[in-house]
Amino acid sequence: MAEFLQFLFSGLTVGAVYALVALGFTLVYNACDVVNFAQGEFVMLGGMTTVFLALAGVPLPLAALLAVVAAVAVGLMLYRLAIEPARGASAVTLIMITIGASVFLRGLAQTLFDKRFHSLPPWFGSEPIRVGGAAILPQSLVVLAGAAIIVVLLWQFIDRTLVGKAITATAANRLAARLVGINTRRIVALSFAVSAAIGAVAGILVTPITLTSYDAGTLLALKAFAAAMLGGMGSALGAVIGGVALGMLEAFSAGYLSSNYKDAIAFLVILAVLFAMPQGLLGRGKVDRV
């Protein structure tokens, strides 16, 4: 039982991060049909920028805030300089552009920062909390709480505000959204900014547990994408559920089966989902016009 709880908590923690990154994916995908493989780099940038600002003597909360601002700036630039000029390009070309961006950002982090692993001090110490024989790091609770707050805030924002409704409208039908006076370009830019911010926050929250380095983003992006796909592309709730589910699957299979193949789970999930139910758990079925 203690073992089970331990896996459950570590799965939830990792799953929360996947969920946040998957949520960012979904925002951008809904706004402009771009699968943004650079999504994981925002997580890396959030963690790394905070670490290096803190090393430079900036107080931690301010460093974290600045890191989020930096990630948002990068997200906006990514949209303006790379996605916007390539409007109308094929899906593959757009994927390659975002992968190029991901490689570029990794190179940038490598030159700007360094190639070593870095950590941040946990917010509430590193004394584990004992629950039923399992040890939980206080930081895990911070990650879970942070993720929950972000999800609720985002949901409220999209559901309650005018801008949020414009995002929903743009996702539903871009042309119709433009016709009723929504500036869809601004909505897409906003989606990039918000998803960058979410990624950066996830990176800052989780760095005390998982450490971060210049190349931490790629695998994370791929796994979060698997999560988004599991939940159903385009569904925000699906992204969250898919993220948590993937985190759990990974934790339990690493615990009970083989930790060597932990990273393989995400990709097996992608293949299994695509074969069995391409629309994912909560995605809408798609009908093609011929």
């Binding site: 699968v35 790379a82 000029p85 390539a86 390009a89 899906a91 593959v92 070309t93 994927i95 390659m96 552009i97 992968i99 190029g100 961006a101 991901s102 490689v103 570029f104 950002l105 990794r106 190179g107 940038l108 490598q110 030159t111 790629t218 791929l222 994408f225 698997a226 796909m229 592309m233 060597n260 193949y261 990273d263 393989a264 995400a266 990709f267 097996l268 992608i270 293949l271 695509l274 074969f275 391409p278 011929v290």
Partner: protein
Amino acid sequence: MPAILTHRLAVLVALAAIAVLLPLAFPSAYYYRVAALVFVFALAALGLNLLMGFAGQVSLGHAGFLGIGAYAVAIGPTHLGLPSWASLIGGAALSGLVAFLVGRPILRLKGHYLAVATLGFGILVAIVLTNESGWTGGPDGMPVPSLRIFGWRASGSVPWYWISAATFLVGAALAINLIDSPTGRAIRAIHDSETAAGVLGVDVARKKLAIFVISAVYASIAGSYLALFNGLVTPDTAGFLRSIELAAMVVLGGMGSILGALVGAAILVVLPQVLTVLHDYETLVLGLILMGFMIFLRAGIVPSLAGVLGGART
């Protein structure tokens, strides 16, 4: 493209001329080495271009087949006592078989989904190669014995330049033949509209699967060459970035262009060699270039050039 270059024989003659004349300009063995790598990757890109450019099906996991081919010539002689050439053929057959099995469900998918499914497949291959260290040597990889044909040992840059250039030419000839065959026409019809092709009686699923298998075999042979030439193989051969690199070669050179595969491979192989001068900025510049080409030269280099020169399409 100018009429002279649209003729299929002319393309082959031009490629052969390039392969033969290029070494005249090589000041050292190092150039042979880089050029050999260009032809090896061009072979893989050519196969992938058949899939992406002609059949219109994306694969972001082709390094998986590159990896199978590479590890075949490493594991065959080391663990199974097979000669290298037999391992190479075995690897190609295995790649074809894997492509056949995986391709059936994967190729039903479209767009992003197809891209991600193939990507997932490629990464799975890399993970297996990394983890089965008893067979593959794990993350550090394993040495690859040299290729021997009738007692002659193929090693060093010069022999491998000629082997890879010749194989690329054969591959290009086969590809051109395929494109002009009834199967090729059916495949190009699938590219334009799967529904229309289906209505006209093309067995869409089967043709797509066939081209996927062929492209896997191309990649596998290229992978075997790469391993034999380097004398070492690591799981990076099958890695995510390799897959992206292969797809980038196709898109960069030009989708559906035989010459494009060579041009794309040349750029992505030579560029990192040049960029080593920049040391720390290598990754950064590579990312910039990838983005730049994709944004501003979307059609690919060869078709764009052809458009400028002749105004006609190949």
